[in-house]
Structure formats: structure tokens, C-alpha cells
């Protein structure tokens, strides 16, 4: 994967976050994606979300597999470690890293090919394990790096740039994640940063796997008439089910007031997500309702976006396995080696 070093220009007047970093400090290498690629907008949203959350860059790890989406981990947070692994296997590498160091913030970036085809199994099992991470699927319905084949998220009847029609049914990561018991399920659109940034911030604070499917049009291979993952189609068919505002812990939390259209969910770290219910009666903590709404939208040819489901009480991988609070990587050898006396006592059992 290619990247070009971006010149670091400092503007003294730039706004600083709680750590004293400017938004520029959260940028990375220059993107080598096609001009207008939806993924670059997602990257920009991530930069802003991480800046606003004042994440210490060196305490975050950017994880990815292979594909256009996976390249984007190089394009933000240059002072964070990044891991561009193998195709479809980002979830297992992140699982291992998280097992070793539970205190880092893991940002996994994947695509529809990476997560819904070659890596579908890993995607599902990372959700089952509820690995604490932000899991983004930059979803464009197409294989960009190999020049335009349909992916597993392409809709039936959707046409390719070459004019072929997709005949196989799509896999919807949102419905799949809901079925698998995901504790945070959202969908955004790369063209709607205002909606996306609070979702990303909430996902980064979630105590478990936060799955965000982002419709991110491919300007080169899948932004034409007939594509259901184009800017035009998404803008016209986007239905915001519940919009979210994210309130980090350190900021004063404003009472939702009497407006019944707003509900709040408190995250594990004390920060708060406020939902503006744009859809009457929508309850983002009800898995069955979330599933039904997304399906209903689908049948009306609409794309349900927003924070669709959240369960902040789900146990993450470490809670399930009851691992110590100290990251395993910080345990000393003395804490890990039982020593010869214990070995000799054990040896008696083999006599």
C-alpha cells in the first residue's frame, strides 16, 4: 500500500484539545486514493473525532487488512502504531493485540471485501468475542484495487461500471452484526460528516466492539447510475433513524430537558450519547426493534443510518475471560513464572 509523506505545516492559531494537540497532529500521510473517494471523508471524520476526544495518539492503534479501505490507516494519526495485516484478518490481529494490551484504543478499518467476503468469519467472531474496538466498514459494494468486481455487499440489480448486473443477494453488515449480538451497531454515510463524527466518537468510547458500516462511494468504479452505493443514491435514500450527539465525560452534560425526542445512554467511562429520535418510537437499546426498522427501511429501498443499536452493559472480551485489569503486556516476569519450588511440587503429580 502506498503513502506519501504529508508536509507538516503548523499554524499557531489552530485550536488545541485537552492534550494540547491541534487537529493537524491527528493527520497522517497524504492519501493516495482516487480524488473524491468516500474513504478520505471517513478519514477526515476520524481525525476530527479523535482530536475532539483528545485521544493520546501513541495510545491508539490503527488496524487494517487489505484493500482501499485498509490503506486509510496510513492517512491519519501518524504518531500511532499501525498494522496493515493480511486480507480479511484484521479482526484476529486486533483480538490478539487487545488480549495483550487492553488499554489501547483500537481503530479497525475494513471494507466490504475485507469483512464481508474473505474475512466474514473473522468479522463475525470478533463481534462474538466483543473485542473492545471501533470497527469501521468502508462499504462501497465494489473491489476497487482489483478494478471494479462486485463485492458481497452489492445489491441485486446494481450495475457495475462495465455494465454487468449483480445477481447475488447482498450481505448487510448491520443486520448481521445485530443478529450476532453486537453491542454497538451504527451506519453512516461518508458524505455526512455531521452525522458520522458523533457516531465515531461514541464508538471510540464504547466498551466493546463498535461496528460502524459507512456507505463510502467508490468514485472510480461504483458511482454511476445503477449503483446503490453511489453518492446520488445514498443521498436520496438515506433515512436517519436516530441521530446521536456524543458528550465526552469531561464536558458538562446538558440535561436533555423536556424534549421527549431525546434519550441518553451513559457509556462505561461516564460519557454520554444523546439520541435525537428522528423516527417516532425508535428505541436504540432494543435489538429486535432495531432489526425490524432496518429491514423495513430496506424493503422501502431506504438506507437506515444513525446509531441503530447500543448495549452498554455487554461484557467485553476481557470481562468474559476475567483477565486482570493490568494489561498482560505490563505484567512482570516475576508475576508470570511460578519458579522451581512450584515446579518441584508439581512434579510429584507425575510420579
Amino acid at each position: 500500500m502506498t503513502s506519501i509523506t504529508k508536509p507538516q505545516v503548523r499554524h499557531p492559531g489552530l485550536k488545541k484539545n485537552a492534550l494540547g494537540f491541534t487537529q493537524r497532529d491527528y493527520e497522517g500521510a497524504m492519501s493516495t486514493l482516487c480524488a473524491g473517494c468516500g474513504h478520505d471523508s471517513v478519514t477526515a471524520a476520524l481525525v476530527q473525532a479523535c482530536f475532539e476526544l483528545a485521544l493520546p495518539p501513541h495510545r491508539a492503534a490503527k488496524m487494517s487488512g487489505i484493500g482501499c479501505s485498509s490503506k486509510t490507516t496510513a492517512y491519519f494519526m501518524r504518531d500511532s502504531h499501525g498494522f496493515n495485516s493480511v486480507h480479511g484478518r484484521m479482526p484476529s490481529v486486533t483480538t490478539g493485540a487487545n488480549a495483550a494490551n487492553r488499554d489501547l484504543t483500537y481503530i479497525g478499518i475494513s471494507g466490504d471485501g475485507d469483512s464481508l467476503s474473505i474475512g466474514l468469519g473473522q468479522f463475525c467472531h470478533a463481534i462474538r468475542r466483543n473485542v473492545r474496538m471501533l470497527y469501521l466498514i468502508e462499504n462501497n459494494g465494489v473491489y476497487g484495487l482489483t478494478k471494479g468486481q462486485f463485492s458481497a455487499s452489492a445489491d441485486v440489480g446494481s450495475t457495475s461500471k462495465k455494465g454487468e448486473t449483480n445477481v447475488q443477494p447482498p450481505i448487510d453488515p448491520v443486520l448481521l452484526a445485530l443478529t450476532l449480538g453486537a453491542t454497538f451497531v451504527a451506519r453512516g454515510f461518508s458524505g455526512d460528516k455531521a452525522q458520522l463524527i458523533p457516531i465515531l466518537k461514541a464508538g471510540l468510547s464504547h466498551n466493546g466492539l463498535a461496528m460502524v458500516d459507512i456507505i463510502s462511494p467508490c468514485v472510480t468504479f461504483n458511482d454511476h447510475e445503477g449503483s446503490t452505493k453511489s453518492y446520488k443514491f445514498t443521498r436520496e435514500h438515506d433515512v436517519e433513524i436516530s441521530a446521536a450527539d456524543f458528550v465526552p465525560l469531561r464536558r458538562e452534560i446538558k440535561a436533555p430537558g423536556t424534549n421527549e425526542a431525546i434519550s441518553t445512554v451513559t457509556m462505561h467511562d461516564g460519557s454520554v450519547v444523546r439520541f435525537r429520535k428522528t423516527h417516532e418510537g425508535y428505541d436504540p437499546t432494543n435489538r429486535e426493534a432495531a432489526y425490524a426498522h432496518v429491514r423495513a427501511c430496506q424493503q422501502r429501498d431506504e438506507v437506515a443510518t444513525g446509531l441503530l443499536f447500543i448495549d452498554e452493559h455487554g461484557a467485553d472480551m476481557h470481562a468474559v475471560w476475567k483477565t486482570v485489569a493490568t494489561p498482560l503486556v505490563d505484567l512482570t516476569y516475576e508475576q508470570l513464572c511460578p519458579g522451581d519450588a512450584a515446579l518441584q511440587a508439581l512434579m510429584e503429580k507425575y510420579r
Partner: protein, 611 residues
């Protein structure tokens, strides 16, 4: 050739009927009588209802290879009667359940047939089908105790230890063992000509399987993340690691785990988890067998090229494909040494028994950290799952893990531009930085082409600079891996090379060959890559045999490729049917290649040998 403390016997039973535990009880009782003993469980890839065999060899001389012939066979599975009768050596004994008649055509001349109505005795003495089935194993154990003059006090003590918390079971087992013992004593002449007699030859030994020992090594090495997918014969390694961790790694104040064991969705994921954890800075491993190794290839290449430590235990079984999952082989050698596409080479360790599984497990983690690369431990089903008598394990409390070049926050503070793959010290090993330690250490791991700074490249020179350093690093590893074990005898013209679980049989074969006048030197390969002494040994003998358990002479190929020794100058001795190697198969292969010596028991001097 049997005699006191020198014989072998076999229990032929049906799997899933509880015979495994009574068989290991017999083995352990012999061990506690101070007599060297070996047990080989030859079981089917099945849970219940198929033939299973357990061979016990008693050897006052301490030979632990699989026995060549059976002095006594206990046949309790009608479906294998014919095979069992045939497996008794001439002049040996067959013990069968006389509750039902033995087919007349199974009666064989030249062996003694002993009948005890085990089934009937159980029906008369115990209640319930399950109890009767389980206790039949204990009744035949009692009979064997009488036939073989086993110390009944030792047996009683073992039952007490085993059932100390289950009074009812203890009483039933005691009665069962006595029933068998008394019946044999009162109906037959006991003991048989070959039998047991107390020795003092097991004082500093233990009985342990290789998978438990390897798991214990992982605990002592400080490994904290284990990822796996169940597969025979490697499963018991992670099960043992789990139980050792529960025992030794539970935080006293909180009861929380100082480890994380993840049963993954497949072997690809297991490899990914181990590599992710290794990247994040802990000691991590996965355990698998051949099919899993095939699935892990892509990840192994990633870890090799991005230089991430992880340990892979391959408990080899009979391939190719699914092969015979409950049979042993050493047929993954080539696929481990060069695992993954592109130019890749890996460190592989070859333990020869459970004791070495423990120490090599620790070594594997040190090598993985020091050389920042995947390290394989190539065990096999025979070593991994069978109970072996070996030296009691020891631990040096002054041991500290070699974590290799891993930069601390303080060290990184003064680093202005971190270059992940820079050979600063000229030894081919670049310093690494762990995520979360310091912003100055941040870099981008990529399996795609990269230069010494870790930056993406498609430039020929920058690419080559990195892969050439990897080759240098690998050459350095040859000097750091366990050196071969070499036994030389003055005047030996024959060289025998072997590895892993063949060791016990080869050592015994060398003794037998010497009896025949063939004096052989021996080199046991303990690791890949090979260092200079390996080639030197190959060059110092007129004729060299390479003993291994695969069809295609894979060790010989590795030796030829890596040392330059012409392949045809090494004679392959191959045993690949899935059973543990016997000394006799080595003896006949080696002696068959050589002209018969003129006189027996004389050291061979200037005798011509074929090239």
C-alpha cells in the same frame, strides 16, 4: 528375549470403555516399582466403539522406544481377536475374556492361551452396565498384577490417590482389582516367566506427555496469550496450558486471570491472534497440527516479513490432508522450514521427548523474541500424547527471558526518527518498538514492500536491502538455536542422522547394531537452520543414514539444500506408517545396506561400505 523387567504387553480393548485410565494406572504402578517403563496409546480417530490398543514396555536397560514384539496380549475386543492372537510372539501368552468362548480357529499353536471370565465376574459382583464395563478394566488389571508380579501395595495406593474423594468408587475398584488378582493366582501359575521385580531406576524420573511439558514450558517462559483451534493431536497442549494457568496464574487478590486463552474460529484466526499479541508485546503462541499449519501459512509469512515474534507448536500427525489424525509422523518438516509464499525461512526446533518439549518450549519464546520472527516447535503425536518416562523437570530461578531488542519509553524519548528495520548494530536484528510505549516509536507494520524505515517501497534496492538483512538474521539464528547432539565412537564408519521422536529407537538401534559389529556415530538434529557442525558430521562418514518418519526423506532434503551435501550421499531410512519408530526397523534398514560382517561382536574396521 524377554525376562525379568524386560518384556512388553498389549491391551486390546474398545475405545470409550474406560480402558485408557486403567492402562495408565498399570504403567504408573510399574514406574513406582522403580522399573523403567514406556506406554504407547494406539487409538482410533473416534470417540466410542472402535479398536484401541495400549502397549506397555518394561525395560531394565531404560529403552523407551516402541516394543517390537508382544510377550503378552490381553484381548478384550472380539473384533480384533484374530489380529491380537497373531500379534503374540512365539512362546508368548494371550489373555482373553472366557465369559464367551474363543473361536476355535483363533487358537494358535506355540502360544499359551489364558482365559478369565472378566465379564461374568463383573456381572456377578457389580451393579449397572456402566459400572460393569468400567470395572472390567480394573479386573483385568488385577489379573495382570498377579501374572506379572506387580506390587499390590503400590496398586492399592494408586487407587486410593485416584479415588480419595469418591469412597464408593474406591471400594468398588479395590474389590475389582482383588477379584482379578485372586482368580489369576488360584487358576494359573503366577507369575509368568517374564515379570516385574523392584528396581531403583526411576528415582529422578517422571511420567509425562509432551504436550503437558510443552505447555508447562510456555508457562515458565512467561507466555500470556494462547490462541488455538481444536485439532488432534495438539489439543491437549492448550488444555494443559489452561489448567497450569489456572493453578499458577490466577491473581491472588482478585481471582482474575494473568493470561488470555482464546479458542478461535479457525487456525487462521489463531495465528492472527498470536501475531497480534506478539506485536503488542506479550509472549504468545498457538498450537496446531499439519492441517492447521497449512491454514496458517499466509500469516506466518506476514510475521516473518514484518518481524513479529510468535511461537507455533506443530504436533505432527500423519498426512497428507486429513490423513490419519491419531497416528504419528514427521512429515511437516519442509512445510515448516519454508512456510508461506515468497522467500521465507523459519527457525524450527525438534524436541525428542517430553523433557525436551519443556526446555525447547522456553527456548522457542526466547528465540522468537530475540530474532523477532515466528518459531516452530515440531513435536509429534507420539511425543505429544503418549506418556514418556523422562528426567524430572528442573527450573533455574535466575532465568530471565531474552526479550531481544525492544525499545523502552526512555530509549524512545531521545529517538527523533524511528526506523523499524534499520540494522544499527550490524547483526541483522533491528530494534522494535511496542504500541502504546512512546509516540516516537510509532511506525506502520505492513506486509507490503517496505524499506529499512518501514516505509512503503517499490524500489528494488530498498526492498532488497531488507530481505537481505532477513537472510543475515537467519544465518545468525543458526548459531543460536540448539546445537545437534552428536555421539561419536572411535572407529565408526557409519553415521546415523535423525531427529525428534526417532531418538529413542535410534539409540537402541545403535546398541543392537554394535552387537552385530556395526559401529555407528550419531547426530541428532535439534533445530533448523543448521550450523557448521551439521555439515562436518555429514562429511566425516563414508556412509550416512538419515532416519526419519516421512515418505519423502524431508530431513535429508533439508540437509542437502541447506548444507550442500549431495542428496544421494545420504541413505534414507524411512518409517511413515504412522506408528512410533521401533529400533528393529532402523537396525534392519541400516544392516541391510551394509555387507554382513565376518564375525559377530567385533568392532568393524576397514570394511567396505556402499556409497
Amino acid at each position: 528375549m524377554s525376562g525379568v523387567n524386560d518384556f512388553a504387553f498389549r491391551m486390546a480393548t474398545v475405545n470409550g470403555t474406560g480402558s485408557a485410565s486403567s492402562n495408565s494406572l498399570l504403567m504408573q504402578a510399574i514406574f513406582r516399582m522403580g522399573i523403567p517403563v514406556t506406554g504407547k496409546n494406539i487409538f482410533p480417530s473416534n470417540i466410542q466403539g472402535l479398536p484401541t490398543f495400549y502397549d506397555i514396555r518394561v525395560s531394565k536397560d531404560g529403552y523407551t522406544a516402541r516394543p517390537q514384539e508382544m510377550d503378552l496380549v490381553v484381548t478384550l475386543n472380539p473384533s480384533t481377536y484374530a489380529k491380537d492372537v497373531a500379534s503374540v510372539r512365539k512362546g508368548g501368552y494371550l489373555l482373553y475374556d472366557s465369559s464367551w468362548p474363543l473361536e476355535p480357529d483363533l487358537v494358535r499353536e506355540g502360544i499359551t492361551i489364558l482365559g478369565i471370565p472378566f465379564g461374568k465376574m463383573c456381572v456377578e459382583n457389580f451393579e449397572g452396565d456402566r459400572n460393569r464395563t468400567l470395572l472390567r478394566n480394573i479386573v483385568y488389571s488385577g489379573a495382570l498384577a498377579a501374572f506379572l508380579s506387580m506390587d499390590m501395595e503400590v496398586v492399592g495406593q494408586m487407587l486410593t490417590e485416584k479415588f480419595s474423594k469418591k469412597k464408593g468408587l474406591l471400594d468398588a475398584n479395590r474389590r475389582a482389582i482383588q477379584l482379578g488378582f485372586d482368580y489369576a493366582k488360584s487358576h494359573f501359575e503366577c507369575p509368568l516367566p517374564f515379570h516385574l521385580d523392584h528396581m531403583d531406576a526411576t528415582g529422578d524420573s517422571i511420567i509425562i506427555d509432551g504436550n503437558s511439558a510443552a505447555a508447562l514450558g510456555a508457562v515458565y517462559a512467561g507466555a500470556t496469550v494462547g490462541a488455538w483451534y481444536p485439532i488432534t493431536p495438539s489439543t491437549s497442549l492448550m488444555e494443559a496450558f489452561t489448567s497450569f494457568c489456572k493453578k499458577f496464574r490466577t491473581e491472588p487478590e482478585t481471582g482474575l486471570a494473568r493470561y488470555c486463552i482464546i479458542q478461535a474460529e479457525d487456525e487462521l484466526s489463531a495465528a492472527g491472534i498470536a501475531i497480534g499479541a506478539g506485536w503488542a508485546g506479550v509472549r504468545a503462541f498457538t498450537n496446531t497440527s499439519g492441517p492447521g499449519i497449512s491454514l496458517m501459512q499466509e500469516f506466518v509469512g506476514l510475521a516473518y516479513y514484518t518481524e513479529i515474534p510468535a511461537v507455533f507448536f506443530d504436533i505432527q500427525r500423519t498426512g497428507p490432508s486429513t490423513g490419519m489424525p491419531t497416528r504419528t509422523q514427521q512429515a511437516d518438516l519442509m512445510s515448516l522450514a519454508y512456510a508461506s509464499h515468497g522467500d521465507t525461512k523459519h527457525i524450527v526446533l525438534f524436541p525428542c521427548n517430553p523433557e525436551e518439549c519443556f526446555y525447547m518450549s522456553v527456548k522457542a519464546f526466547d528465540l522468537a523474541d530475540r530474532f523477532q520472527t515466528p518459531v516452530f516447535v515440531a513435536s509429534d503425536l507420539d511425543i505429544g500424547m503418549n506418556d514418556w518416562m523422562c528426567k524430572r523437570l528442573q527450573w533455574d530461578d535466575s532465568f530471565r527471558p531474552d526479550r531481544g531488542k525492544c525499545l523502552t519509553a526512555d530509549e524512545l524519548e531521545s529517538v527523533m526518527k524511528f526506523s523499524r528495520y534499520l540494522d544499527a548494530e550490524g547483526d541483522g536484528i533491528a530494534a522494535r518498538s511496542l504500541p502504546g510505549v512512546h509516540g516516537h516509536g510509532a511506525y506502520f507494520v505492513r506486509g507490503s514492500g517496505h524499506d529499512k524505515h518501514g516505509t512503503y517501497t517499490e524500489d528494488a534496492d530498498a526492498y532488497q536491502e531488507v530481505v537481505d538483512r532477513l537472510a543475515r538474521k537467519f544465518r545468525l539464528a543458526a548459531t543460536a538455536v540448539p546445537a545437534p547432539e552428536i555421539h561419536t565412537v572411535p572407529g565408526a564408519e557409519v553415521g546415523i542422522v535423525s531427529l525428534g521422536g526417532c531418538h529413542a529407537a535410534v539409540l537402541e538401534a545403535i546398541d543392537r547394531l554394535r552387537d552385530m559389529g556395526i559401529v555407528a556415530d550419531y547426530m541428532r538434529i535439534r533445530a533448523f537452520p543448521f550450523d557448521a557442525p551439521v555439515r562436518a558430521f555429514l562429511d566425516s562418514h563414508a556412509v550416512t543414514f538419515v532416519v526419519e518418519q516421512n515418505r519423502d526423506a524431508q530431513l535429508r532434503s533439508l540437509l542437502a539444500i541447506e548444507t550442500g551435501k549431495p542428496r544421494d550421499e545420504m541413505i534414507p531410512v524411512l518409517d511413515y506408517g504412522g506408528m512410533p519408530l521401533t529400533a528393529m526397523s532402523v537396525v534392519s534398514a541400516v544392516s541391510g545396506h551394509l555387507p554382513r560382517p565376518d564375525t559377530k561382536r567385533s568392532p568393524r574396521k576397514k570394511r567396505k561400505v556402499p556409497a
